[in-house]
Symmetry: C2
Subunit: 200 residues, 2 copies
DNA sequence: GTCTATAAAGAGATAGAC
DNA sequence: GTCTATCTCTTTATAGAC
């Protein structure tokens, strides 16, 4: 690598990645439907010709973006799960980091959710799998925290997972009314409630 | 009213309402940016001429829609709060009813959230006020349920409020993994956790 | 008030030059 | 691989008829 001339496939991949990142930004700003191919290419520093050299159309870039983000997230989660220390604490700091770019993240996330929901149920699988995977990881952490099996922990994990979106929305709408670490505090409350439910 | 000929202002208001309802549907299906004025007018049974007779442009109908839905929700919440019976149970059944048209509701809701987030923070007030009002109503109900003051109940109410969006998203993505009454069950868990937190 | 007609701009997608 | 040129279709918004 370093200062060497990029090989053909490397520069190809670079352009593709630049276009993907640009698309993510423009989607977040204007929405998928409101983002023109020209704007995306322009943001990446190219013209439309380059765009169509890498993607068949706008839908293709949405699909590619969803898969790329899903893959990236899988890697991050896998890393968290493999870490030796406190998995729960690791997940917490992950959320804290995310809250720094919360608005951009939420905007893109809502766009991808909306886009997935617009197609028939059978074709929502990429997003559904991403969600399932994230929830599985959370379920493991919750089960460990509560000292129960995964079956009992599943619903609690769902709540925690759902809170991430829900609180992000509330914080984006009115940052003053939602603390930056609301997810962490809320998760503690939910875990306490789940613990109490186990011992009636 | 009844079978009498509509007055001028009545028929005017009727057309406006039809256009608003049509806009809500089309926004939910195609997104605000993906919805053309012609589609909206067509859905309402008119042509674009009628549309431009009532709204300056597409942004105007989004603003009107947000205000109209906010007003409608305020009335519903006010009715709930005024009802003699168990306010909490009334809120629950409200959620249950909503889950029937969950996808449509969520689609429109996410569109309006996205649209609000696309403008500068100062201009998000209509949605922010709507959220604040809903949360206030919830805070009252939570305080009564926990037997605490509103200050202590505020954060718990925020969690419950956020869960509504978060669980709706999860259920829309994969209905099989989220029970229809998940909000109710989750709320019970959260309340239990909040109660335990009060008595350390 | 709502329709039809139309002007003007924007966007998707392809073809050919380099 | 990426650019410029171009074709076509869609959309916005206005103007004038009824």
């Amino acid at each position: 690598m370093s200062r060497q001339r990029l090989s053909r496939s490397e520069s190809q991949a670079l352009t593709r990645m630049r276009l993907l990142d640009a698309a993510a930004e423009v989607f977040a700003e204007h929405g998928v439907a409101g983002a023109s191919v020209e704007r995306i290419a322009d943001r990446a520093g190219y013209t439309r010709g380059a765009f169509y050299g890498h993607f068949a159309d706008k839908d293709a870039v949405v699909a590619a973006l969803l898969e790329e983000r899903t893959r990236r997230e899988r890697e991050e989660v896998a890393q968290l799960a493999a870490s030796e220390g406190d998995t729960w604490e690791a997940l917490r700091s992950w959320h804290r980091e995310r809250s720094a770019h919360l608005e951009d993240w939420l905007a893109l996330r809502l766009e991808l959710v909306r886009h997935a929901l617009r197609r028939p149920p059978g074709e929502r699988s990429v997003l559904a799998q991403r969600e399932a995977y994230a929830r599985e990881a959370l379920t493991g952490a919750v089960a460990r925290e509560l000292g129960t099996g995964t079956a009992e922990a599943a619903f609690t994990a769902l709540i925690v997972h759902a809170l991430e979106d829900g609180l992000a929305i509330q914080r984006a709408i009115d940052p003053g009314s939602v603390p930056a670490d609301a997810v962490v505090t809320a998760t503690e409350i939910v875990l306490r409630g789940a613990r109490t439910a186990d011992e009636p």
